[in-house]
Symmetry: C2
Subunit: 126 residues, 2 copies
């Protein structure tokens, strides 16, 4: 993207009081929702500039270049914002499991009649 | 769901300081991500009890029974929580457009080289 384009996107995003917006990562080809994380202005800028998804880690209070230590990077395929500008939807190409638990995605617990059940297996560590 | 099951889910959700958790609504059959909204404990409870999706409106500070005025209700098909328990993924059956702008979903603006473009049309009001 051009710098002008990046600035236009940044101006359209409504960050919250902590300077963050929630970002949904979705597999661009299958539609699988992988995870929800958070972005600040710098994370959005770096993601759009590099095409590699970078979040803001609320626990570490630092930019979180997804896959930096695990290798499970996300290549950006599309970047959308919602009607209010306060939520982001990223179309990504995911290398390896998206979740730090090694599950393919973070949403592996589903409500059934009597409570939560695990609906996917963690992948074997290589 | 049983009341025991609902309590088990509520105990697994990590609500933020405002008592809320972000909820992604995804069309259960096509995988289309429709919107991101927020739920408090009461919204989760009512959604699981009734099978009709209810959010918490941060602007109105009230329970928001999706489609109550528009008719564009969401029937719940699945309810998942993420690894950390602080994000929700709802599989839904959506009646009509999900977005209050009459777009099929709220994520109708996409970043291109020079800025944001609209990638879907608002449906005609009936």
């Amino acid at each position: 993207m051009t710098e002008t384009g990046i600035e236009a996107v940044l101006n359209a995003v409504l960050f919250d009081d902590a300077g963050l917006a929630p970002a949904i990562a979705q597999r661009h080809d299958t539609g699988e929702v992988l995870m929800l994380a958070w972005m600040n202005r710098d994370a959005v800028r770096e993601t759009l500039r590099t095409g590699r998804v970078t979040y803001w880690s609320r626990s570490r209070r630092a930019l979180w270049r997804k896959g930096e230590s695990s290798g499970h990077v996300q290549a950006l395929r599309s970047f959308r914002i919602d009607c209010d500008g306060d939520a982001l939807l990223l179309g990504v190409e995911q290398i390896g499991p998206a979740c730090h638990t090694n599950h393919p995605n973070c949403f592996f617990r589903e409500a059934r009649a009597d409570g939560l059940v695990e609906i996917s297996q963690a992948l074997e560590a290589r």
